[in-house]
Chain length 162, copies 3
C-alpha cells in the first residue's frame, strides 16, 4: 500500500532576491513584472507575496503608474518631509554612531521611508499577484542613485494541489 | 491499515471578496464584522488575515471608531494632502495615459492612499482576528462615491488540527 | 509499515505576546531582539513574521536606530500631526462614546498611529528575521507612558523539513 504523497509538498515558501541600481535621487521604479514572475515561479496558486526592501531610505508602495501622478507624489513627499529641512542625522559633527565612509545627508530620505514603509504584502489568487486595474507595485528610492536589494517571499498552497 | 488523514487539510488558504458602494467623498467604513466573518468561515485557528482594497484612491487602516476622531482624521488628511492643491494628475490636457471616460480630479485621493496604504495584515488567534480593545478595521474612501472591491485572504492552520 | 511523519509538522504557526511599559510620551523602542528571539523559538526556517501592537496610539515601524535620526522622526511627527492642534476627539464635553475613567487628550497620538500603522510584516530567511544592515524594528509610543501589548506571529516551514 502506498502512503499518500507527503503533504508538505502543498505548503510553498518561495523567496527571491532582486538587486538593482537606482538612477535618481527620488525615483519610482515599477516592480510589478518582477513580483508577478516570482509568484509564477513559486508555483503557488493561492496565498500571499511579501515585497520588502532591505534599506532605510527606500519604500515599497502600490499606486497608479501615471507620470504626472508620480510628479505629484514627489511634490507631496517634498512638502511633508522637505529635503532642505535641518535633520540632526545629517550633522556629522554631532553623530556618534552608524557613520560610514560614503555617508551623505539623507535625513529627509529616512523620514519619507518612515512614512511609506519598507514592505507591502499582496494577495495571490490563481497563481497571480492580485492587483486592481490601476495598482502598480513600486520601489520608491529616496536617496539614489544607489544599489538596492529587494526580497520577495511567496507563501501559500501549491497550484493544483488538493 | 489506514494512512493518516492527508495533512494538506491542515494548511488553509481562504479568500473572500466584498463589493460595496461608498457614499461620501471621504468616508471611513467599518470592516471589522466582515473580516471577522471571513476568518470564522475560513476555519483557521491560528494564522493571519490580509485585507486589501483593489484600488488606488482608497486605503485600509486600523484605529478607533469614534466619530469625533474620524473627523480629526479627515482634517489631518486634508492638511497633509489638500484637495485644492494643484495636482498634475488632474490636468487632463496634459495627461497622456490612463484617462477614462468617467475621469474626475482625484490627485489628492491618490496622495492620501499612498500615505495610508492599500492593505493591512492582522494576526488570527483562536479563530478570531486579533484586535486590541479600540482597534477597528476601516476601509477609507478618498474619492467616493464609488463601487469598491475588497479581497481578504486568511492563511493558517485549521482549527482543532494537531 | 510506518506511515510518513504527519506533514502538519511542517507548517508552523507560532505566536508570542510581549507586555511592556513605555516611559515617555513619544518614544521609539527597539524590538529587534525580541522579534528575532520569537523567530528562533518558532522553529521556522523560511516564512514571515508579523509584529502587531494591539493599540490605536502606537505603531510598528522599521528604520535606523540612530539617536539623532530618532529626534528627526519626532520632529517630523510633531510637524505632520502637532500635539497642540485642536482635536475634536479631545473635547470630552462633546464626546459621546469610548470615554474611559483615565481618558487623556491624545488626538495627536491617534493621528500619528494612523499614518505609521499598527503592524509590520517581515520575511524570515534561514531561521532569522530578514533585515537590511540598518533596519531596526521599533515600537513607536505616541501616548506614553502606558502599558502596551504586542503580538508576533511567525508562519512558515519548519527548519530542516523537506
Amino acid at each position: 500500500m502506498l502512503a499518500p504523497r507527503p503533504a508538505y509538498n502543498d505548503l510553498v515558501i518561495f523567496n527571491d532576491i532582486l538587486r538593482l541600481r537606482t538612477e535618481e535621487p527620488l525615483q519610482f521604479i515599477d516592480l510589478t513584472a518582477w513580483v508577478d514572475r516570482v509568484v509564477r515561479r513559486s508555483g503557488v496558486g493561492h496565498g500571499q507575496v511579501q515585497v520588502q526592501v532591505l534599506h532605510t531610505t527606500a519604500a515599497i508602495v502600490a499606486n497608479e503608474n501615471e507620470p504626472l501622478l508620480i510628479d505629484d507624489f514627489k511634490r507631496l513627499l517634498e512638502r511633508v518631509a522637505p529635503a532642505d529641512e535641518n535633520y540632526a542625522h545629517d550633522d556629522f559633527e554631532r553623530r556618534r554612531v552608524n557613520l560610514t565612509p560614503d555617508e551623505r545627508p539623507n535625513g529627509h530620505a529616512h523620514a519619507r521611508a518612515l512614512l511609506l514603509g519598507a514592505a507591502k504584502l499582496f494577495n495571490v489568487i490563481e497563481g497571480r499577484v492580485e492587483l486592481g486595474r490601476w495598482q502598480t507595485i513600486f520601489l520608491v528610492e529616496f536617496d539614489g542613485p544607489r544599489k538596492r536589494t529587494l526580497s520577495a517571499t511567496v507563501t501559500g498552497r501549491r497550484r493544483n494541489s488538493a
